[in-house]
């Protein structure tokens, strides 16, 4: 690096310090520090008569309940299962889309990708609301099913776990397609030609060349869907039935319906423990991706 380049990289000394310190301190204060408070509150006692309804102690009663009541463990496992299935559904829809867009003529890729992202810019809540209408008893889906004459009494998807998978796949599809596209687009088409020249059939070439090379995109996309889906609240609340047990909904109810702040905090801490490994994995993958450019 030349002397000027070094000066450019450093910028003015006070400028450099401010550039780092201002966002750093903001995130430490408003994103990191709150977790220490959540930890402290989660150990306290729920006292409904005080404002706020917490008395700071080290009793850990909330954790005793968290371990003792099988409902919580069931909610965690259920959330992980639903999030995992929904992530696979999203991958199965997103991969062929990303693949086709990456193979499209260069001039088409931008608009095609834009069309995948565009719905993300409209309201999330309203997109989930749209499915409430479609999946309901007399909704569009059932009208089509009845009209086709294939099914007389199709039943209702709304209120089932399938509606939740569908909702997650729908809401998070852009987060799956973007990283997949990025890794598929980078791929050298000559590799596939070489595989074909060596006698590989298309499916074999895909399985042994394309799929392994797109693995970073698969990992990135799946984490971007899976982690938030575990704690999802709106989708199970609006599309799932009243009996749907997901941990985001449990936390919400502990907080807003029961007003039990220590319990809600303990649920949040436990969720954080479960999600720390995938979040670290996500951060590593992102750092590698940026370093690779």
């Amino acid at each position: 690096m030349s002397a000027t380049a070094r000066t450019v990289a450093r910028g003015a000394p006070w400028g450099r310090a401010a550039t780092i310190l201002v966002p750093y301190l903001w995130l430490l204060l408003f994103f990191a520090a709150p977790f220490a408070i959540v930890a402290a509150i989660s150990l306290g006692d729920y006292t409904p008569d005080t404002v706020p309804p917490v008395t700071l102690t080290w009793s850990g009663k909330a954790y005793a309940l968290l371990v003792g009541d099988a409902l919580y463990a069931a909610a965690y496992l259920n959330s992980l299962r639903i999030a995992a299935i929904a992530t696979i559904v999203t991958l199965l829809i997103g991969y062929p889309m990303a693949y086709t867009i990456a193979r499209a003529p260069a001039g088409w890729r931008g608009p095609l990708l834009m069309a995948v992202i565009l719905p993300f810019w409209t309201s999330f809540l309203i997109r989930i609301y749209a499915w409430m209408g479609i999946l309901s008893e007399n909704g569009l889906l059932n009208q089509v099913l009845r009209g086709s004459g294939l099914v007389d009494d199709p039943g209702t998807l709304l209120g089932t776990e399938w509606a939740i998978y569908l909702g997650i796949a729908y809401a998070y599809l852009p987060f799956m397609v973007l990283p997949l596209y990025a890794s598929l687009e980078k791929m050298d088409a000559a590799l596939l030609e070489a595989a074909a020249d060596l006698g590989a059939r298309p499916w074999t070439a895909f399985r042994t060349v394309t799929l392994p090379l797109s693995l970073p995109g698969i990992v990135g996309g799946c984490l971007l869907v899976f982690i938030p889906a575990v704690g999802e609240f709106v989708i199970p609340d609006l599309l799932g039935g009243t009996g749907t047990l997901m941990i985001g909904k449990v936390l919400w109810d502990e907080f807003f319906s029961n007003g039990d702040w220590p319990m809600a905090s303990a649920v949040a801490m436990a969720m954080l423990v479960v999600l720390v490994a995938p979040i670290v994995l996500f951060q590593r993958a992102r750092a590698r991706d940026l370093a690779g450019r």
């Binding site: 408070i37 509150i41 565009l118 409209t122 309203i126 749209a130 007399n138 938030p228 809600a264």
Partner: protein, 278 residues
């Protein structure tokens, strides 16, 4: 690509776009439905449009959301751009690894966790300092915190592809670092700044969960109102609102894309003219 495979892929792509757009289209169509039942078509009518435009609570909530989104987008763009520069331009500083974690975590952290964490911080601060009261300020701060992370990612990836030669040339010609930033770097990354601002604005306008935790009893944003009405079942007024949001967002995105494209073409023409003159 062999013919059969490519036809299959095209079918998959068409299915994917139908999956994305049919729900939105049905919402728009049914906003013009006469019946109160959102699922049964009984004739064309704009009466729900009138109802929505006379719905004071909805208009107040929309105004509050708009004001918060505006403040959020401006502050988050400044903070996020600084963070993007810190990540892209300063490969070594103390605590850099923790900093990258602080940027990555808000992107995936379930919102219920961020919601309860932010609320407990605001309650603690309020008890110790008497500030901030729950309402506009707490909602704006919470929104800024997570949308700044999104802006940082946009700016960081733009700077990763940035050609430093133009900055070096300006420095060689004697420009000071701040002048280089103001006249060279920021204008060149302007499209990403616009994209980051729009992204932050949209995230704020759309946020429900985080907002519900930190809003307090006095403030109601548009998503909060939509959520409480949607929980009671589908309602034609929400379809009208959806149509308005889709139209405005679509126009903003297409408009921004068009403006950026025009600016780029203009720059290319200028560059071409400059080389011709030289």
């Amino acid at each position: 690509m062999p013919g059969r495979t490519s036809r299959l892929l095209l079918a998959v792509l068409a299915f994917g776009y139908a999956f994305l757009y049919v729900p939105i289209l049905t919402m728009i169509v049914y906003s013009f439905n006469e019946s109160r039942l959102v699922t049964v078509w009984s004739g064309f009518s704009v009466k729900w449009w009138g109802e929505l435009l006379r719905n004071e609570a909805m208009l107040d909530a929309a105004l509050l959301s708009f004001q918060i989104a505006l403040v959020n987008a401006c502050v988050a763009t400044v903070l996020g751009t600084m963070a993007g520069f810190a990540l892209a331009r300063h490969p070594r500083f103390p605590g850099r690894i923790a900093f990258t974690g602080l940027i990555a975590a808000p992107l995936v952290m379930p919102e219920v966790i961020m919601g309860i964490a932010s609320l407990l911080l605001f309650v603690a601060l309020d008890q110790v300092l008497g500030w901030p009261r729950r309402g506009f300020a707490t909602i704006a701060i919470a929104h800024i915190t997570f949308s700044a992370a999104y802006v940082a990612v946009v700016i960081q990836s733009r700077l990763a592809d940035f050609d430093r030669a133009v900055e070096e040339a300006a420095m060689d010609l004697g420009a000071r670092p701040f002048t280089v930033l103001r006249t060279i770097t920021l204008p060149l990354i302007a499209p990403s700044l616009v994209a980051g601002w729009l992204l932050a604005f949209t995230l704020s306008m759309d946020d429900l969960i985080l907002t519900q935790f930190v809003a307090g009893a006095q403030s109601q944003t548009l998503p909060m109102l939509v959520y409480s009405s949607v929980r009671l079942g589908v309602s034609p007024q929400i379809n009208v609102l959806a149509t308005i949001i889709v139209t405005v967002a679509g126009a903003a995105i297409v408009g921004a894309g068009w403006l950026m494209n025009r600016a780029r073409r203009q720059r290319d023409r200028d560059a071409y003219a400059a080389t011709r003159r030289a």
